[in-house]
Every structure is written in structure tokens, then in C-alpha cells.
């Protein structure tokens, strides 16, 4: 089974969404007829206002929710509740895909940083020494060795984000799903986060970043798709094209209009949250 998944994944796309819809209990829709194919090595940014279905999309990709209708495949295999109930598929899938939750208090459920980072490796069959080696290496990469015995409630927002990333890095997945990774970070942590994502992309990892932070999307993504407020995927393309489409971004509530009363005239123009997309940046991996 494991080998199947590996050979299949060498050629198949990482994720294939085919007319996928999802509704929460009580029929409150979260995603409507989504079609999307993601290839290995891509860095996709999913843009959308709050409540547009970005988080749901990531949870579907991570096999935590399952489509209400439509088909979803991961590494060429159907990603269903039954498939994940099977131990070998579950093991292999969890090993390859890591999800960063939006709320760090949800993701950090262990009593200490060390336990947190060791949690995922401990679910594998690795030996104790191997687990410890991986934990130490993840702590080093994220430069949080000092925090290893700290309790999560004694960490700052930026530290929590690093620990959450380390808890995924210790498993070294090939696909990273990041839910609002830059929310609540100070500018320094933000630029550090951008570097981290870019490094992962350069190392050949597949990244999916759900965000409403256009500057993050611009810096880390080589493909952008946009959800509108009726939970539909309305655009999919290269960052330069999408991020310069002011009308689209305004429609999807990603930029807002400012009035500038001080000009005396009712002059209105749209404000992206960030620097203009035409601004030069080192785009990772083309």
C-alpha cells in the first residue's frame, strides 16, 4: 500500500478536487463546486475573506473533513474516510502532509514544547532515539532550542507559531498546508516566516498557504487562487496576474476602499493591504 502510494504519487498530482462541495452540519455551505489540481512542488496561495472557505479547503486537503459531494484525490488515490481508516494509508498520508492550524492554542495541545514537537514522530514506528534526533533537529532549524521545556501558555505569539511549525517539521512532510500563518505576527517574525516558506519551496516541498495577507501571497506563492464570499473558487493563476486584478480583489473583499476626506473632494481609491504587486520581489521557484 505504501509503495503504491509512492509510485502513484510520482506521477499523480498532489491534490485533485473535482466538483467538491462541503457543508457543515445544519447545511451551512462552506465550499461550492471547487475544481483544482495541485502538482508537486507548487506553492499555492489560497486567498479569500474570512469565512470564505479557506480553512475548510485545508481541512479537506488534510483528510480531516470529507467532501459532502464531488471527488477528492490525494497522490492519485481517493481521499475518503474509509481510505484513512486503513492504517497503512493513514500512516503514509499523515507522514506526507502537515497542517498548520490557524489557532496555535489548538495546535499546541501538549504540556511542553518538546512533547509538542515529539507528538507526530511518536505516532510513527521510529525508535526513541530517532524521535529525539528529529525533535532536536526541528528545534534547531526553528531556533527554539531554548524553549524546549516551556509550557505553551508561557510563549509569545511568534514563539507559538515557531513551535507549531517545528511540530510539523519534525515529521518532514512533503506537503505543507498553512492556515493564516502570518496572522498576528510582528514584521520581523513575518519576514522570518516568509523565508521559512521560501526555503521549504526551494527544497522541493509543496506549499499551500491560506491567507488574506496579499503581501505574503505575493512573496511566497507561484500560483494564487481566490475564493469569493459565496464559497466559490473564482480565479486561479500566477500571482502577478491575480494580485493586479483590483476589481476581483475588491469583489472578494480582499482590498477595501478608503475615503480620503482631507483632500476635500470625494476622491476614492482602492487600497491593497500591501505594497503594489508591480513592486519587485524575488519570486521563489519562478
Amino acid at each position: 500500500m505504501q509503495r503504491d502510494l509512492e509510485t502513484a504519487s510520482a506521477t499523480s498530482p498532489v491534490f485533485e478536487f473535482c466538483d467538491v462541495s462541503f457543508a457543515y452540519e445544519g447545511n451551512q455551505p462552506a465550499l461550492e463546486l471547487v475544481n483544482l489540481t495541485l502538482q508537486a512542488g507548487e506553492s499555492l496561495a489560497i486567498l479569500g475573506a474570512n469565512g470564505s472557505g479557506k480553512s475548510t479547503m485545508l481541512k479537506l486537503m488534510d483528510g480531516l473533513y470529507f467532501p459532502t459531494s464531488g471527488k477528492l484525490r490525494a497522490f492519485g488515490k481517493p481521499l475518503t474516510e474509509q481510505a484513512l481508516a486503513e492504517e497503512s494509508f493513514n500512516f503514509d498520508f499523515r507522514r506526507r502532509v502537515g497542517l498548520l492550524f490557524q489557532d496555535a492554542d489548538v495546535q499546541l495541545f501538549s504540556p511542553t514544547v518538546f512533547d509538542e514537537v515529539a507528538f507526530a514522530p511518536l505516532q510513527t514506528e521510529w525508535t526513541g532515539e530517532e524521535v529525539i534526533r528529529r525533535v532536536e533537529s526541528a528545534l534547531r532549524t526553528l531556533r527554539i532550542e531554548k524553549l524546549r521545556d516551556r509550557a505553551p501558555h508561557r510563549l509569545s505569539g511568534g514563539e507559538k507559531r515557531r513551535v507549531a511549525l517545528a511540530s510539523i517539521l519534525s515529521l518532514d512532510p512533503s506537503v505543507w498546508l498553512l492556515d493564516e500563518p502570518s496572522a498576528g505576527l510582528d514584521p520581523r517574525s513575518q519576514s522570518w516566516l516568509e523565508d521559512f516558506i521560501i526555503d521549504q519551496v526551494r527544497a522541493g516541498k509543496t506549499m499551500v498557504t491560506a491567507t488574506h495577507d496579499l503581501s505574503l501571497a505575493e512573496v511566497v506563492a507561484n500560483r494564487v487562487c481566490v475564493f469569493n464570499e459565496t464559497h466559490r473558487l473564482v480565479a486561479d493563476g500566477p500571482p502577478a496576474e491575480i494580485l493586479s486584478n483590483q476589481n476581483l480583489l475588491a469583489e472578494c473583499n480582499l482590498i477595501h476602499e478608503h475615503r480620503h476626506p482631507h483632500t476635500g473632494v470625494a476622491s476614492e481609491h482602492r487600497h491593497p493591504h500591501v505594497h503594489s504587486p508591480s513592486h519587485e520581489h524575488n519570486h521563489p521557484a519562478g
Binding site: 492550524f101 507526530a120 505516532q123 501558555h153
Partner: protein
Amino acid sequence: MSKPIRTGIFEKTLADLTHALEQSLFAETISRQAGLLQALDPRVKIISILSLLLSVSLSHNLPVLLSLYGLALLLAWLSSIPLDFFIKRVWLFMPFFTGLIALPALFITPGPVFVSLPFGLAITKTGAVTVLFLLLRVSTSVSLGVLLILTTPWTALLKALSILRVPEGFLLILGMTYRYIFLLLLTAEDMFLSRRSRILGRLRPAEARRILAASAGTLLSKSLSLSSEVYLAMQARGYRGQSRTVNAFQMRSIDWAWGSGIIFIAALAVWLGR
């Protein structure tokens, strides 16, 4: 009609919540200081404190109990726990709780009269002894518990509980509970602070109760929704209902020596206090 009360309820609850946070912070500080008990393997510490607790509980002899309390004081001193804090923590609270409970036993326990008091009251000898037993036993037990808590980082204590054959699954829950107690403490603190800032003047008890119940209800809803999210986060990292931990503890010869020494003392105390 009940008369309006001040908003003291919120202050009281807030103070309790803050106190719990401070207490854990204080314990963390002490547990990181150099000292005798801090240097020991937490598993040895749990076993030795438990055996001392048991010997306190089994001893039927006042001088032996007194020596065990002396031992607790000595251990506190050797573990750089401020002695005034250590004694106060036990004896400020004791007279109000155990002392008050035990007081009537001085008079109503039948036995030879020890001291006669006016109004036909008399302290009996048996009464005095029994009250001393209770006070010494409770204070020594509480002191030993405080020793364990103050000298062991709680995460180490948690891991060390596995030596008591507590199942891994139970330890996982215990660790998560401890972790989320702090999240809920902070949430509750925020809730009360924001309520308090909006309350002007006095509050009727019924109103205060309603607000408290609303806070409790909100906290419960939050706990339940958080638990579903946390479950997803655990699943995302491969959790399927089994848990495993890596144990980094290493027994050194000092741990063995200490452990056997304390168990010997405890056994001796039981034998002497038979």
C-alpha cells in the same frame, strides 16, 4: 428582596484565578533553583514522598509524627524553599480548617479530664491527643505534598507519574488537561476583566449569578468546540487513539541511594509508630 452587593464576586473569582497562575509560576521558579530535592529523579521523588505520606498516615505515635514533620522542614530547607513560606503555607490555613473542625473534639471525646474549664466544659486527655494527631498528620501530609509540588517542574511530575503504572492514555489526557487549564484560566480572567470594566456600581446577587452562569456556559461551549478542533489537530499529526512517550529520565546512584534511604526512614517510622 436581597440587598445589592458590590462587584466583589468578580474580584474574588479573579483573585482565585490569578492566584492559581501565580502559584504555578512560583512553583516553577522554585523547581528551577538548585537544591536537594530538585536534583533528584522525579520518579524517585514521587515514590519517596508517597512512602513518607504513607508512614505519616500509618504512624500511631505523636513523637514519630513530630519527627516526620521535622524531616519535611529539613528537606524544605535543603531544597532552598523559603522556610517562612513553607511554614505559613501550612499553618496559616490549618487553624482555620482542621483546627476549627477538631476544636470540639477536645471536649466531647470521652476520657479522663485533662484541664477543667468553666461552664462545665473539660478538655479530656483523649480529646487533646486526638486533636494533636489530626493536626500533625494533616500538616505533615500537606507539607510533604507542597515539597513535591515546589521542587518538581510539573511536566517532569507528569511524566514521572507513569512509574505509578498510570496508563499512557490517561497521562496524555492529564497533560492536555493541565495545558488547557491555563488557556481556560486566561480566558476566564479576560471574561471577568471585561465584565468588571463594564459594571458600574453595585450588582444584585441574582444578576451576579446570571453573569457567572453565562461565563460558565460560554466557557463550557468554548471547551467543547476547542476539544473538537484539538482532536482534528491530533489527527492531523497521526493520532489514532494510541499514545507513546519518550522517557528521558536516568537513574543515577544518588537517586538509588536517596530512594532506598527514604523508604527505610518511612518503614522505620511506621515500625516505631506502630
